[in-house]
Amino acid sequence: MVESASLQELSGKIRGGEIRSEEVMASAYDRIEAHDSDLNVFRSRLDRETALKKAREIDQRAASGEKLGPLAGIPVSIKDNICIQDPELNGSCASAILEDYASPYDAHVVERLKAADAIIIGKTNMDEFAMGSSTENSAYGPTLNPWDRDRVPGGSSGGAAVSVASGMVLLALGSDTGGSVRQPASLCGVTGVKPSYGSVSRYGLVAYGSSLDQIGCLAKSSEDCSYALEVIQGHDPRDSTSSDQTLVGDGKDLELQGKRFCLPETYLDPEVVDAEVIEAISEAESMLLKEGAVIEKRPLEFLRFVIPTYYILAFAEASSNLGRFDGIRYGVRSQKEANLKSLYSDSRSKGFGREVQRRIMLGTFVLSSGYYDQFYGRATRVRAGMEQQIGKLFEEFDFILGPVSPFPACGSL
């Protein structure tokens, strides 16, 4: 019942007292207790009793006829880089440098989830500071793919994807800068959405690449993702990049007849994309055609530049964003305090993992004088050019069709 019901149905039944949140929570904890120790999904989580107590409170409020929120009694996980004020959920970003970090405030999305009466049970493992695509770069060990433990779950929101795929929660929030929600969702066989930049407030999301970071949902279906997005999206005055436009509704009434899809040719290139993925695209293509959609293939040369541009911009921003983790005010501080400079370098060398250090150094390089224009400057111009081309493309098309990842879940990267 819990497995097959949609979020909307399930929370409706909890609100109506037909199903008890406590039962849903107990079944979630059965899964967690059976599999978390080997899958390594959670960085921190409530103990079973605390979670059940919260569930019972929801049940009592429902029984007393109180009007509850749209996610009433639903167990939800959030990625470790989303701030929550809860001493049981300390630590952050799966990084040693924030080992015991206790956030004194809730992220915007956490406020929204709480207001919707969801029960946040824990924070999920991730690539440290969201840098990676396999969840192997966590300071606390890798998360495994529940379908095949020899394969990676994707990343950086690997813990989030696995928490849904293994039935530990019904909804997970992740963050996506360059595919970090969509790719692990794909590799774990769940649905993941990166909503348009600006539609969900970043307030309380620990920044990686600020101009690209966006909080997204992972769930069993697009319907569930859409339902949850309704809860977390919307303008937030605390985030200056938050949009005041509302996303279009859940698309239940979407009529595919005559809708125009652009299919970039690169995505069908066997040199670049795995045969299995090309097959999946063809399946999607024929399904859409059957519904009356129009699909046109286009070369879209600029797609070649997406990855290098992304890396330069994201690393540059990251090198600046991660400067604050210096061991002075919070987080791990090196005990060898010879002088200020060594306090900084020792704390940061010890606190950050290799991939994070590599990205900070590359980002520092592309912003340094003498190289700025060649790298960061050029990347911003390429990005502006792409924005323009994509804008033009959307004058002609309603959708751009493509795979999330060029290959299915693989072994260790």
């Binding site: 405030y105 600046s320 005010r329 912003l367 700025y372």
Partner: protein, 476 residues
């Protein structure tokens, strides 16, 4: 060898907004360390800046008042460096697209008015402050000041003496306070400047090696530090040593500058546009509205004082440069005081009193209405100017009117001729020898009789009347 001096100033002024530049914490001063903070000014993970619109308004007003062009697409940038008082490891500032550019203002110099170019005015956030504990090898960080809004005003290198630099700073101070966008309190560091100084042989086109003196927080220090630095450059050059481009600090106790860091150690700030803050788009109509609402600025004020009120060039200049003094001055006029007399009181005795007591004009506790009353009592002849001067300290924090004070102290001047003549005749009888001297041609002796009369009346005799009567008696 004859040298000429080239100076450029970077003035930092704290904007007098109620809340900070990127969060809603108050700008109030004096809370216990780190009590007046939030996740944003603490730079905690996940926090984001939101621009205080008042800060933009203030900066635009300053740009308009200094003839700048206002950018309709200015942008914030991150200045990245590590320091314990900088909680995000970057300061949000402006780099390529400052809010105001290409302005100028006029200063008075010995050779008349001179126009000084303003390269740019940009906005930035202040950092926190380090507290070094005595007898301890640790330091503490107080972030109550982090995120206080600042403007940095960069001049062209067009100032050619320490006097010009001081006048420029005074003019900027007057503009900032006239606009009401900065308290101008330099002791609290609400306005301070960095001076870039170089010298070159007269006639040479290229600039000499420059040094930057940081954090000068009084007009006097600006002048002293620049003078010291010019002299140091001269000596280095004349002695054949090579000057080092470096940052220096002013030691106001020992009256000298000393090296802080050289250019080799100059920092790499990796400026780039802050992705958390959108471009600041300004509406032309809004800017025009601000332009029309600007208050009277020091230049206009000075012109009015000269032309409408007949003050001297010097008095008009000095009064108009001080917001406090000119405001006080106008209140004296409103209360009926004569402009020239009012100006004399403010720039003379009251300024002396301020210096002696180390108080600001308002803090003296003398109401503008009292000065107006004082002036009219002198003009009516009720008291003498000397009496008025002596009375000034009694006006401080007094609830009584000047007239009441004058009466209470029995200060009313004796102008009654009959009364005075009686006393004068007595004196003439008493001092026959001096009368002889006078009549023998030593007319200076007149002063002796005036003195005697004053002594007898305890200084209350009207000096004009007394002079006239004594003279007529002695001559008669």
């Amino acid at each position: 060898m004859e040298f000429e001096t080239v100076i450029g100033l970077e003035i930092h002024a704290q904007l007098a907004t109620e809340s900070r530049i990127f969060c809603s914490c108050s700008t109030e001063f004096g809370c216990p360390p780190n009590q007046n903070t939030c996740p944003v000014c603490l730079g905690l993970p996940g926090s984001l800046p939101v621009l205080n619109q008042k800060v933009i308004e203030y900066a635009v007003k300053l740009g308009l008042a200094t003839n700048c062009s206002i950018r309709s697409d200015s942008q914030f940038a991150r200045k990245n460096y590590f320091y314990p008082d900088l909680p995000k490891a970057y300061q949000i500032s402006q780099y390529e697209r400052p809010i105001c550019e290409h302005g100028h203002l006029e200063i008075s110099t010995g050779e008349g008015q001179k126009q000084i170019g303003i390269t740019r005015i940009h906005l930035e956030e202040d950092a926190g402050k380090l507290l070094h504990q005595e007898n301890s090898d640790s330091s503490s960080v107080d972030l109550n000041r982090a995120g206080i809004p600042l403007v940095e005003i960069v001049s062209e290198p067009e100032l050619s003496s320490s006097e010009e630099a001081k006048s420029y700073m005074e003019k900027m101070h007057a503009i900032l306070t006239a606009l009401g966008i900065c308290s101008g309190d330099m002791e609290k560091g609400h306005m301070r400047c960095d001076a870039n100084v170089s010298i070159r042989p007269k006639g040479q086109k290229e600039f000499g090696t420059r040094t930057e003196i940081k954090n000068l927080n009084s007009f006097r220090f600006v002048k002293q530090a620049i003078d010291y630095e010019i002299e140091r450059h001269r000596e280095e050059i004349l002695d054949g040593r090579e000057l080092v481009q470096e940052t220096r600090l002013w030691d106001s106790e020992r009256k000298l500058t000393f090296s802080m860091r050289s250019k080799e150690e100059a920092e790499e700030y990796r400026y780039f546009p802050d992705p958390d803050l959108p471009v600041v788009e300004l509406d032309t109509a809004w800017v025009d509205g601000l332009r029309e609402s600007l208050p009277e600025l020091p230049d206009a004020r000075k012109l009015r004082y000269r032309e409408k009120l007949g003050l001297s060039e010097y008095d008009a200049e000095v009064l108009s440069l001080s917001g406090e003094a000119s405001e006080f001055f106008e209140e004296v006029l409103e209360a009926g005081g004569d402009p020239k007399q009012a100006c004399n009181w403010i720039l003379g005795d009251m300024t002396r009193m301020m210096n002696e007591k180390d108080l600001s004009l308002r803090k003296l506790g003398i109401k503008p209405g009292m000065i107006a009353e004082l002036i009219s009592l002198i003009q009516e002849g009720t008291i003498s100017g000397k009496m008025a001067k002596n009375l000034l300290p009694d006006l401080q924090n007094s609830d009584q009117s000047v007239k009441e004070l004058v009466e209470a102290k029995g200060l009313v001047q004796v102008s009654d001729e009959q009364e005075l003549l009686k006393m004068i005749d007595g004196l003439i009888q008493e001092h026959a020898a001096q009368v002889e001297e006078y009549r023998g041609g030593k007319t200076k002796v007149l002063g002796f009789f005036v003195g005697q009369l004053m002594k007898q009346t305890q200084g209350k005799a009207n000096p004009g009347v007394a002079n006239k009567l004594i003279k007529s008696r002695l001559d008669g």
